[in-house]
């Protein structure tokens, strides 16, 4: 594997893992399965993964290949939006739980995690548009479709269990971490089969 493409691929992997672990830690914290101290301690994991993602992205960007530049731009965009998402969600949740904000302020608080998610979706779309290497673009689209499959399958599965009051309610924002997880699985699956 060339340095540029392997760096880009490593960056995508680190980025996906960072988003997945960050979301999992937030989920555990919001579900009160772990305390704030443990959550802050565990938050080191996605941050280290983000750092690794950033390093791999820079390696890919410095290789000079056009396709890798698109991948590097993608991973840096995902990294930045993921960080904004985690920070936005953390701040919004803390303010909402501790300071009893007004309804108007609560609307604004809700936007803090929503806007980075829109940014993340935009970054994904931009990558598909900018990637000049048709095979890498094909792989990214396939991984996105696997992610979409995860969201639809898990969402409808859980939704019906919820309808019949068999499982507790899960917030809709879980769709993004599940999508990211599915994309990671999709990329991993394609790498394993050598596609």
């Amino acid at each position: 594997m060339s340095t540029s493409s392997s760096s880009a691929s490593r960056a995508s992997r680190w980025g996906g893992l960072s988003v997945a672990t960050g979301a999992a830690i937030l989920g555990l914290k919001l579900a009160d399965a772990i305390g704030p101290g443990t959550a802050y301690l565990l938050a080191i994991i996605p941050l280290v993964l983000l750092f690794l993602c950033y390093r791999a992205s820079l390696d890919a960007a410095n290789s000079g290949a056009g396709a890798s530049r698109a991948a590097a731009r993608y991973t840096i965009g995902i990294m930045a939006s993921s960080l904004a998402y985690m920070l936005g969600l953390g701040v919004a949740m803390w303010v909402w739980r501790n300071l009893e904000p007004s309804t108007e302020l609560t609307w604004l608080l809700a936007m803090l995690p929503i806007i980075p998610i829109f940014w993340m979706i935009f970054v994904m779309g931009r990558y598909v548009a900018e990637e000049t290497d048709e095979y890498l673009r094909h792989r990214a689209i396939m991984a996105s479709l696997v992610g979409l499959g995860f969201v639809l399958a898990i969402g409808s599965f859980w939704g019906f269990l919820e309808t019949f009051e068999l499982v507790p309610h899960v917030p809709g924002w879980w769709s993004v971490p599940i999508w990211a997880l599915g994309m990671g699985v999709g990329q991993f699956w394609q790498s394993r089969r050598g596609a």
């Binding site: 060339s2 290949a65 094909h138 050598g194």
Partner: protein
């Protein structure tokens, strides 16, 4: 779809990376095309043909 990329590369003593650089694609792309796991688009197939100085049908063969 079968292809003769590996043979054509070997004749020119090119690595997959050499060919990838000439085509301005990733080495992964060359590997995927060469091993038949990915069929290139028509524009890329023309670029491959131009790179080897051959016609598309002299490189890509029906199953």
């Amino acid at each position: 779809m079968n292809n003769r990329l590996k043979v054509l590369r070997a004749e020119r003593n090119w690595s997959q990376q050499d060919l990838a650089d000439r085509l301005e694609v990733s080495r992964q792309s060359v590997n995927a095309i060469e091993t038949g796991r990915y069929d290139p688009s028509l524009p890329l197939a023309f670029r491959i043909a131009d790179t080897f100085g051959l016609r598309i049908e002299e490189i890509f063969l029906r199953d």
